[in-house]
Amino acid sequence: MDTIFQPLLFGFGPGAIIAALALGLVVSYRASGVINFGHGAIATYITYVYISLRDDGRYPIPPLPNPFAPIEGIFGIEIIDFPTFIGAPGEGLTFWPALLLSLSTAGLLGIIIHLAVFRPLRYAPTLAKVVASVGIMLMLQAAVVLRFGSRARQSPEIFPAEPVDFFGVRIGQDRFWLLGTVIVTTLVLWGVSRYTRFGVATRAAAENERFATLLGFNADVQAGVSWIVASMLAGLFGILVSPITGATPNFFTLLVVTSLGAALLGSMSSFWIAALAGIGLGMADQLLFRIELDWTWVPDIGIRRALPFLVIAAAMVLRGETMPSRGAVIAERLPDAFAPALTRWRKVLYLAFVTLSLTIVVFAPFEFRSGMQNSMIGVILALSAVIVTGYVGQISLMQMALAGVSAFAVASFGTEAGMPLPLALVLAIAASIAFGLIAALPSLRTRGASLAIITLASGLAIDEIFFQRPGWFGLARTNKSSDAPSLFGIEFGPSSPFVIGDDKIPTPSFGVFVLVMTVLSCIAVMRLRRSRLGQQMLAVRVNERAAAAAGINVAAVKLAAFGLSSAFAGLGGALTAFKLGTYGADSFGIFSSLNVLAFSYLGGIATVGGAVTAGTLFAEGIGIVASNEWIYDVGSYTAYTAGLFLIGTAVYNNEGIDGFQRNQFHGLVNIVRRRRGLGPLDPKATTNG
């Protein structure tokens, strides 16, 4: 009895935070139609603020990158000591002042998120909203790590923890307090939504925003209030649960995936189902944990870690399309999938660009060579995002997990099983494709944000089941090694000798190999854009119903996109494996997947040019190396600024850097043409398919 009952009771702790996050997700979804991937990160950030206040009474402000830093970097001076705390270190605050100050911060964060991000995105396509919320997740996560470090923190007791006897199980009474708080919160939310004018108005707005506005409800105010409530809920429960679970930068942040499962079971609209499912998931998690620990005869295949994924997949298959889509008007366009006509000038331009890249790859100093190799691999990873997200409008948050599958597989097939390079590479890429397709299957009946959720859950599951556990890829939390790639007896790994140069690692031979792969990949994706399949992808992206009526097999096109995208992710992963030589699960974790989306969107999600731009931005890429060498060491701020810029791109310029440059260039061309008495640039010359 004890073995089953005890873990179920222990599950109240994690269950409470899962339920509370699920409630917050439902609140903000009902009010603004946004699924906030950053919701867990809000809980993390507020919990750390609270712990910091309890520890030494100082109020931490987020690590704003010092705006003067580039100038300081160039001139080697310090202009201003940028503040990161309010107040002097001293005695920690007591519970209530610390709680109130933390929750005010949460409310402030909520209203900022509403006003600066989701209010401007009201009429934007789902893609932009999801990308912005991923930006919030990345930025807050990075803020926590920068601000408070990545070590776990303890939090002082809030509810009395003395154990009580409950049907023969001794368990801390704080569990019951937490459970009670969750139930009371659910009751209040349900009552407000059901019986007050505010709740009715919010529900009306969720059905049809325009109609609700006509009836005199101010949907904007409701959304703002709901964001404040959602953030404060996240913060409150993060704080209340922290004495039991402790605080780590990732725990609450990634718990958003499990909470999404709970919220989805309640169709993103039922508070009771979301809360009960959340508590149930917490209990199931503890139960499975105990089963895996105690019952050694149960095969250890990682069911527990797959739980969120399984719940989300089940919710999607069971509920299909029933997740309510809001009746808001979508007026804004998706990023332009610009495909330039291949004029002679353009070919010369491309050739010049490749030659320049080759020059850097061969002749540049080793740190630039390394940066260039990372960037070129980044281009291939970004291309994988361009296909699935840019061309078909489906958001994948698991690209690095797919890359990881290939990275581990290429070592298994090549180095360990001794297969020759082309075969090992093809098999590794096939493994990525298989994983990508399996993960995409449950989402074929749904679209938009649902896909982002399922891929986030899949990415996490792949990481935890396959990369972080012994077994499947024989990884066992240790690192894996991959030999240098070789063909016809010629080695071209990062340490293979090259005819010229300083022989420092990485040598140019690997760079040349990566360059060839990158150029081929770019050509393939440009071809894809112009092919019939590419046109069908863009048709599916705009309107699935109309695409089906025009004879397009929507499910097949989506699967093709996922397959192709996974193939490029796999290629990128295998190249990463060669580049690193020895690597572990860290290189392919969930946040690196989010980064792939962030950089790709920033560069320009719907064009090959955008992917190339994205490549320069990738961590340890050529852009970062150059910046470190010549301007300013962005180093630790990369993730933080990536998140910030990702939000900015989603809100203000969804075309990314590539589209921005293109529009500037076309503007310039048109000015010149007007001066010469010519008409504006003929669209024929630029948009011919």
């Binding site: 048709a539 109309a546 004879g551 669209p683 024929k684 398919g689």
Partner: protein
């Protein structure tokens, strides 16, 4: 189905087609014929179930529709929309739903043929030419000047024609279902649009035109069906429909005639 002894064979027919949403019957046991080479009209006041009827015929309401839909004598009811399009049953949308990201020519091209794996592989190495069918439609509808522009750069009337063109480009269009194509057009545009449709039909295309613009339908259609509250209340030539007391009553009731 036995072909009728008329000069115009029935290309599309529905038998007992019903659509229910929950307890509400939106379309009730509709038997309707479209003859080859003719422009068939389907009129009815707002809310009569006209668009629901098209949605059901083109496979967009798999869970709500019952009955039979026969295309050239084969029962195609229950097949998914893209398969129906390949069989030659295509449609336009009241809200147009063009693919705004790609050019007019690409809009037509995506609809022109089912994608086979072989073609897809071939596209990578040597992109194929635009199919002849697409160029034919471009010539037929005088799209030469707009073929390389994107739909959002065009006038509303042109956009409507692109919608028709896209439905026409399907590999073997048997019958075209037009859902209120004249909505949002002014009087002269509507007239121009009607003439375009008529000339397409005279060139051999079969169409079902849904509209509540009585003037347009009466002017261009060969036969007209009238749908009121989900029931077919009258069928006949424009002259017969014009003088049918039930139709007049239904329309007088809604004040549209």
């Amino acid at each position: 189905m036995a072909s009728e002894p008329s000069a115009h064979d029935v290309v599309l027919q529905t038998r007992g087609l019903s659509v229910t949403f929950g307890g509400l019957t939106a379309v009730n046991e509709v038997d309707l014929d479209c003859r080859a080479g003719q422009l068939t009209g389907l009129i009815g006041p707002n809310g009569a179930g006209k668009t629901t009827f098209i949605d059901a015929v083109t496979g967009f309401l798999p869970n709500n529709a019952t009955g039979h839909v026969e295309l050239d004598g084969t029962d195609v009811f229950g097949r998914p929309p893209h398969t129906l399009a390949h069989l030659g049953l295509t449609r336009t949308w009241q809200t147009l739903e063009l693919f705004d990201d790609i050019t007019v020519r690409e809009n037509l091209t995506v609809a022109s043929e089912p994608l086979r794996l072989r073609d897809f592989a071939q596209d990578f190495f040597r992109p194929r030419k635009v199919p002849d069918r697409v160029e034919e439609v471009i010539t037929l509808l005088d799209f030469e000047d707009i073929a390389d522009r994107k739909p959002r750069e065009l006038s509303q009337g042109q956009r409507k024609m692109v919608g028709v063109g896209r439905a026409l480009t399907a590999p073997d269009t048997r019958v075209l279902l037009l859902d209120e194509p004249a909505a949002g057009l002014d009087k002269s545009e509507t007239e121009w649009f009607g003439d375009q449709l008529r000339s397409l039909v005279d060139g051999g295309v079969s169409m079902l035109l849904i509209d509540h613009d009585m003037g347009l339908v009466l002017r261009v259609c060969d036969r007209i069906h009238t749908l009121v509250f989900g029931e077919l209340i009258a069928s006949g030539t424009p002259t017969e429909i014009r003088s049918n007391p039930e139709v007049v009553r239904a329309y007088l009731g809604s004040g549209e005639i």
